[in-house]
Every structure is written in C-alpha cells, then in structure tokens.
C-alpha cells in the first residue's frame, strides 16, 4: 500500500470514528477501572523505553552474482547504557560498512559495531555522544508467562518510534531449523504483538517498561506470529560481546535429538546423540551416534522434548575451550565414561570476498560446509557467486564450486587465496589453473586471462562418468 492510499484510509476512519465513538464509550464504561489501569501501564512502559529506542540504517555488504554491493537496510535497536551501547540483531548490523542510528529526538549518530553473534542473531553497537544517553533496562524473561501483555517497539517498514501491543503467545517456542534460521542455543518468545520487517532488533517490553526480548523473526504468510530472543539469553551474549568483542563457545562435534525420539519412558534421563561430526573431539574419543549422553563433568543433561535441546547445546558451548570434559554415556544398557577435549566452535558464518578481476566472490569454508562437501578436512574456499561473462564464469566455474587448488598449490583459506590472487595479478600470468570440486566430482578449470571477451563456452555437458 502506498502512502497516499494510507492517508485516504485515515480520513475515512476519522469520519467513521465520530459516529462510532459514542457506542464504544457506552460499551467500555462497564470496565473503566481495569481499562484505565491498563492504559496507564502501557503508557508508562512506552514512555520508559521510547527515549532509548534507536532507528538503525546500516549500509550492508551484499554479494550478488559475483559482485560486492552495498545496500541500505532498515532495522531497530535500543540503547542499554548511558555511554551508548546499543543492542540490535546480527542480521541488521552484521556485515555492514557503516551503521547510522537515529535517536528518539531525531539525532543522527554513526555507530561502531562492537561485535556480532550469528548463532543468536545479536549485535552490539556503540554510539559516541557528549551527553549521557537515555537507556532501557533488561527485565527477566524467566518469570514470563504466556498471556502477559507486551509491547513491541521499533521501526516496522522503516516507520520509526512505532509501538504495538499484544500478549506473549508462548514463552519457549523451539524453532529448530525452521526456514533455515538456526537458534541452537535458545528458545523463542512467541508474541502476537505486530512484528514487521524493520522491527528486527527492537525491544519487546513488559508493562513494567523492561526489555524482556529482542524482536527478531516474524513468520511469513502468518499474522501476528512473531518471535523474540528472550532477555536472559540476550543479556549473557551482550555482556560477552562488550567484554570480548565476540562470543567464544566450545564444541565437541555432537548433534542431539530429544529422548522422545527413542523412548516413551520419561524416567530415562539424558539426550540422544544423533550425529557425531567426523574428526571432531567426540568422534576421536569414540562417541557414537545412538549413544545417550547422561552427564558432562558430573552435571546431568536431560532433554526429553525438543524444546529442552537448546539448554543442552548451551551446556556444552559453555564448557571451557581446550579442556578435558568427562562424558557419561549409555551405549545400549552399558554405562561408559568418555573423556574428550573441547575445541573452540568455529564461526558458523564465513566471511566473503570479491575477486573483481576474475569475476567471482568466495566464502571461507566453515566446518559445516566442509562436512556437507564430504571433504576430509577443512580445505578450499567456496565460490558464492560469479559475474555473468566474467573470467570465472567463462572458465566454467559456478556458484557452489569449491576451489581446492590453484596452480598446484592447495588453497587453505580465503586470506591465503587472496594473497595468491594478488601475486597472480601482479605477475600478469596468462593462465591460472584451478582444481575445483563440484558435488562428488572434481575437475580442472583453466582461466585464460587473455581470452576474456572473445571466449566461446562449449555449452555441452562437461563431464561424463566412465
């Protein structure tokens, strides 16, 4: 709907309002005390938050068809300290080259990104201001109950300083891998307070005027099904980012499934190990898929239903990095004690770089990507896009290919490849040979830097198995 249309609607509504006002008043007069009380509470809560509300306009880096581009995005956030720390979503402020924040009084300030955590979708920014800034306080999300009134505040579709009212629909929604969004370490607060595009990163507020969640997701095609990161989870991440610039987590290489997937017997406590990543600490110490994990370092673990899984994952993530952990395991009926050394969990989001002269963008391989590609270890870089007609595209490289070698030299990281790329450009080499993996098949791709422009692609199928 465009703006003009909105205005027209509004005047129509106003006219109708005059006629309908009377009947509404009559209807409401019976419950005046409750309504007034509630109205006051909503106003109080809003007034407490509004001065700390931030409208965020990040300039985001996106990689489209082998090119790096900058686009202006929209989001919300809120100030949490008088010296100007701002909390928002990672998907708002991550991968941005510039972040502009507009405060409640229309002051525009440029923010610095202190750190981001893609696993929880949280980012912390810092504003520099001469005066002390108004800030919002976190409340506790543990004491919430579905049915509690909440306000969602932020900039839906870029309309700053908006507020909407609703209730908490559920306090611990497990989303799993719904729609490709993973929140491995937390459940979600589900609310019917309207959350739209642009609300991302804004606060979900209780009637005491405390932030009890960060509005992050809305279900597409549904109405009033929005999700917020619970404040208790968020606060911990925010503290870690402010202190260290990032969130460090441990990993053992385990994937979990709820006990319900194995048994109806609720008295069996533990969690099912669904998968063990190859070469991970757990795999090396002999943990097998199908084992039931009972405790870690004498602390019991238990997840009978899937919404209890995030807590188990967090329990492992919170272990100190590079230290021995003792896992009590049930294999069939046999109890086992297994020792494994934790390793630091790698970033789940790889950085991206554009290689302009060769017409493609590439991404760092994460352990998960390496695993999907059936690579025995993390090696190579992943082509994320190719410019049509560019050197890479003409040489038969497509998005999704993994570059394993360049001129017989194994590619180990994006940084190392970038170095090789620069050396190659400086040397004006005519040919560059890439060794590429696509699915289960590897192939050679020769880039002829001279031939660009008049190259003819042989469009027939490139390989056959013999």
């Amino acid at each position: 709907m465009n703006m003009k249309c909105c205005m027209k609607m509004r005047s129509v509504l106003r006219n109708a309002g005059i006629a309908m006002g009377l009947s509404f008043l009559l209807f409401l007069s019976g419950c005046t005390t409750l309504t007034n009380n509630m109205q006051e509470q909503v106003l109080d809560a809003k007034r407490k938050i509004i001065p700390s509300l931030v409208h965020i306009r990040p300039v985001k880096e996106v990689f489209v068809q082998g090119k790096r581009q900058e686009v202006l995005a929209l989001g919300s956030g809120f100030i949490i300290s008088k010296d100007g720390y701002v909390v928002t979503n990672e998907h708002v402020a991550g991968e941005s080259s510039q972040v502009i924040c507009v405060l409640d009084d229309n002051t525009e300030l440029e923010a610095r990104v202190i750190g981001t955590d893609p696993d929880t979708d949280i980012a912390v920014l810092k504003l520099e201001s001469d005066q002390a800034l108004a800030f919002a306080r976190f409340g506790s999300s543990a004491s919430l109950e579905s049915g509690d009134f909440v306000l969602a505040m932020g900039s839906p579709h870029g309309l700053s300083r908006s507020a909407s009212l609703g209730i908490i629909s559920l306090t611990d929604r497990y989303l799993g891998e719904l729609g490709g969004i993973t929140a491995p370490y937390n459940n979600w607060i589900q609310t019917d307070a309207a959350i739209n595009k642009g609300n991302s990163g804004g606060p979900l507020v209780n009637l005491k005027g405390e932030v009890i969640g960060i509005n992050t997701l809305a279900m597409l095609g549904a109405e009033n099904v929005g999700f917020a990161i619970p404040a208790d989870s968020a606060r911990e991440i925010v503290d870690a980012i402010i202190a260290h610039g990032r969130v460090q987590r441990s990993s053992l290489g385990l994937s979990f499934q709820e006990m319900h997937a194995k048994t109806d017997d609720k008295t069996v406590k533990g969690v099912v190990i669904a998968d063990v990543s190859p070469l991970s600490p757990a795999a090396e110490s002999g943990v097998k898929a199908g084992d039931v994990l009972v405790s870690i370092n004498d602390k019991k673990v238990n997840a009978y239903y899937e919404e209890e899984l995030p807590a188990v994952r967090k329990q492992i993530a919170d272990l100190p990095v590079n230290e021995k952990a003792v896992l009590q395991i049930l294999r069939g009926n046999e109890p086992l004690s297994i020792e494994a050394t934790t390793e630091e969990k790698m970033a789940s989001k790889g950085t991206q770089v554009e290689f302009h002269e060769w017409g493609f963008t590439a991404m760092e391989m994460t352990p998960e990507l390496a695993r999907r590609a059936q690579l025995p270890q993390r090696q190579g870089i992943l082509v994320s896009g190719c410019t049509p007609g560019g050197l890479a595209a003409v040489s038969g490289i497509v998005a999704g290919d993994i570059l394993l070698e360049m001129d017989d030299e194994p590619i180990s990281s994006l940084t190392q490849f970038d170095e090789l790329y620069r050396k190659n450009l400086a040397a004006h080499k005519k040919y560059v040979m890439l060794f590429v993996k696509r699915g289960a098949v590897t192939r050679f791709a020769l880039m002829n830097t001279d031939a660009l422009g008049d190259a003819v692609i042989d469009k027939e199928i490139l390989e056959y198995v013999d």
């Binding site: 997937a261 194995k262 048994t263 898929a289 050679f444 042989d458 027939e460 056959y464 198995v465 013999d466």
Partner: protein, 463 residues
C-alpha cells in the same frame, strides 16, 4: 477391461467407415474378411510404468497400456519400443488376448530390446504350451504413393479397448536410408503397432514412429510422422527372438573404468607444456573403481586406450570415450597409455562391470513400516556425494498413513540401521524386518541419514 464381441462391433464400425468414402478400394466385404482374419492376433498389453526422479528419489508409478500383436503361435508378442525407453522402466506385464471369444490374461516377460528398430518383444508365460493365432507378414511389399492401406488397432481404455480400424493412404515413399512409407493420418495411441494391410489383406508391417539404434533413430520423427515398419525390418527378430532381459545382481554387462574425464584442449596443453592437444584428463577417480585399482591418478592424461588414440579436444568427445569403454568386455585387460607429469607411461587396467544404476536397482516394499526401500547404487552415491562410511538402503516412497509417515519419514532418507541391526544392503533390511515381524516390538528405532545429518526415527507399527 473387456474386449467384447470383436466381430459384431468391429463390423459396424467398418461398414460405417467404408460406406463414407473408401468403397472403391476396400469394399465392406473385403474389410470384414480381413478383420475376422487378423483381429484375433491383437492383444492389449497392460503394465506398470515407473518413472524415477533420481534427485528426490521420488518415484511415480502409473498403469500403462499398449497395443501388441502376436507374431508366433507359441506367444511371442511385438509392441512399440517406447515401453523400454530410458529413465522409465515398465514392469508387471500382462497380455490380454481373446481366444474363442473368451478373454485370457497372460503374464508376459520383456525381452532384450533390439538396437536397430524401435520395437519391443515379449514372451507370454504359460504353464502349458499355447497355440495362439498370429500375424503372417508379407515380405517386401512394394507400395505406391497414394495407395490405400487398412490399419487395425484398439480404441482407448474408456471404450474398453474396442477393436477399431482406420483407413489411410501412403503419403510418402522414402527411399533413404531404406524404403519406408509414411501414412497420411495421425496415429491414435491404440493403433500404434497396429497391423497394416494392403488391399489383398496381406499384412505388410506394423505402424510406429521411428526412433531406433539407441534411440538416436536414422529417420528422426519425434515430431510425429507415422510410419510403417515393414516386415523386413523385424522379421529376423521374429524368427530368432532376442534373449530375455538379464536380471543381473552384480552389475550390467557393460564395461566400466570409473573415471570422470575432461578433454585436453589446446589451452590446457599449452598450460601444462604438452606438445599436442587431444586426450582425456582424468579429473575424478570413482572410489573402488577399476581405474583406482589400476593406479590411475587425477591429472593423468589418457592418450591411447587399448591401442586406439584418444584425440579428445571438445567436451562432447568425452561421450565417445564413454561409448568406447562401454563397448569393451567387462573383465578385459587393456593397456592405457597416459601422460603423467609430461612423462609417457603405460598402465594396464582390468575393466569392471558398470555398477547398476538407480533404474536397475532392486527394491522392497515393507508393509510393516510402510515404506518402499531400494539399494544404494553407485550413481546415487555420486549424486548425493555419499562417503564410503554411509551404508544402507534409500527410502523411495513412504506409504500414506503408515507408521513411517506418522514418524515423519521422507523419501530420500537413507536407513542405516533398524533397531540394533545395521543395514547395509536390501538383504540386511529384509532380514531385519523379518526379525521385527517375528518379535513384534512396540516401537522400532530407525537410524537414518537425511542430507548431511543423521538422526533417529521412532516407528510404532500397528500389529
């Protein structure tokens, strides 16, 4: 399905048709005689068609039917070759013939498809010897342009496959690559493979659309000109029927090397400092393949294969090599001359059998859990990029309302164990299910792989 009273209904149809416009060429009396003589050789072939999407593993089954003709007294059937085309397999053949005004349904076995003509042959299975009416063909009929022919066929299924007759004229006489006749009417499905008669009532051939010699076809009429396959094209198959299609457990008869290759184009030769372009670069070695066993390496360049020089410079040349390998004998020892780091080297390879593809794989319908599972073939391993550690059977179909569907199983997942029994083959699976059926447990834990993740499904069969 019924083939009702062939004669009376047929007669009516013909009288009508003949009365309208063809009285001069085919008199009603003539047509009636011919019809009586040849229509008992018609037969409706019913079968199950299975098309497979190798990516999703989804399989679509639908009933199919076709017209077939009896070409020998002991039950040799001939039909159009489309029932044996690539990517679609047909099975469970039943042939319905009318004998003494009674309808008899026989099971039939598919025979090996001829390479040079788009026809398929089947043999009727019967415990006692059969003596059936069959078509006698006139060899080398010299038809003229414009000459009239009568074509026997059946109508569609919703008309109970009633026999029918069409009249057509020779619309073109093609001389190259061999004398072939085109006819001037579109061919209804029920008339494909229908016997074609001349005015003397002699059967000169059957109708068809030409696609042959490995479906390439030397007369390419996918656009739909109906033709007459003259008896000379297929008589030798009737006199000397092809063998039964081999159901082999270990693989096909075709030879296999197990490499993916790329042509050595001029630029590649220049880059590697090789004098002459032409050859095949080994780009991927299939694990456990004959190529791997022979010590071929990625980056080797094949220049001579079994004495034949390989001068591949175009991407499509790879195909010719594939054909060349396939044509060899599985088990043959062959010298392969390669370049490794510019040095010539001769390697002896022992060709293997091409592993069975998805289409040829065995499958098993498990009524207990409600799934159809299939063995994991090499092509699926390549397609899904599965490591050697992944052993199991793949779920092709989840039966609606079954225990498997309730547990949210999906086609495409790979079952690796049932309960505590590891499953690495279809046989393992069958055994495990037999044990489960014996023990009747309340629930069964299934360990499976979906995409790159593994996990458990808990199924509760209804005993």
């Amino acid at each position: 399905m019924l083939i009702k009273s062939f004669v009376s209904v047929g007669l009516l149809t013909i009288l009508l048709l003949v009365g309208v416009s063809y009285a001069d060429d085919f008199s009603p009396e003539k047509v009636e005689t011919f019809f009586k003589k040849w229509s008992p050789t018609l037969c409706v072939l019913k079968f199950t068609q299975t098309a497979l999407d190798p990516r999703t593993g989804e399989e679509q089954q639908q009933p199919g039917s076709a017209l077939a003709v009896l070409v020998s007294a002991d039950g040799l059937l001939m039909t159009n070759g489309y029932i044996q085309r690539e990517n679609i397999s047909s099975s469970n053949f039943r042939a319905v013939v009318v004998q003494d005004e009674k309808e008899i349904e026989y099971q039939a076995t598919l025979l090996e498809k001829p390479r040079d003509v788009n026809l398929s042959f089947l043999r009727i299975k019967s415990d006692s010897p059969v003596n059936l009416p069959y078509l006698h063909f006139l060899e080398n009929a010299a038809m003229k342009l414009g000459e009239e022919v009568a074509i026997l066929g059946v109508m569609s299924e919703n008309m109970d496959f009633h026999p029918s007759l069409s009249l057509a004229r020779i619309a073109a006489v093609l001389e190259q690559p061999r004398t072939t006749y085109c006819i001037d009417i579109p061919l209804k499905l029920g008339a494909v493979t229908g016997p074609v008669m001349n005015k003397q009532g002699e059967v000169i051939g059957v109708t068809g659309f030409e696609l042959s010699a490995n479906e390439g076809g030397d007369l390419y009429t996918r656009s739909g000109h109906p033709m007459i396959f003259q008896s000379g094209l297929f008589m030798h198959y009737i006199n000397n029927p092809p063998g039964e299609r081999l159901e082999d457990d270990s693989g096909t008869e075709e030879a296999w090397l197990g490499v993916f290759t790329q042509p050595l184009k001029e630029e590649y030769a220049e880059y590697w400092g090789i004098d002459k372009p032409g050859g095949l670069i080994v780009s991927t070695l299939v694990p456990d393949s004959p190529a791997e066993a022979a010590g071929l390496q990625v980056g080797d360049i094949i220049r001579v294969f079994d004495g034949q020089p390989i001068v591949a410079v175009l991407d499509r040349d790879v195909l010719s090599f594939t054909k060349m390998v396939r044509a060899k004998e599985a088990g043959a020892r062959l010298p392969v001359e390669i370049l490794r780091d510019k040095e010539p080297l001769t390697i002896e390879v022992i060709l293997g059998r091409r592993p069975r593809s998805t289409q040829e794989a065995d499958e098993y319908t498990d009524e207990t859990l409600g799934i159809v599972v299939r063995e994991l073939t090499q092509d699926l391993r390549t397609l899904f990029n599965l490591g050697e550690d992944v052993q199991g059977v793949i779920v092709r179909r989840v039966i609606s309302g079954s225990a498997a569907q309730i547990a949210r199983m999906q086609p495409g997942i790979i079952i690796m164990s049932l309960g505590n029994t590891a499953v690495s083959s279809l046989e393992d699976y069958k055994e495990a299910i037999a044990a489960i059926e014996h023990e009747k447990p309340l629930d069964i834990s299934v360990f499976a792989r979906a995409g790159t993740a593994t996990g458990f499904f808990r199924l509760k069969p209804r005993w």
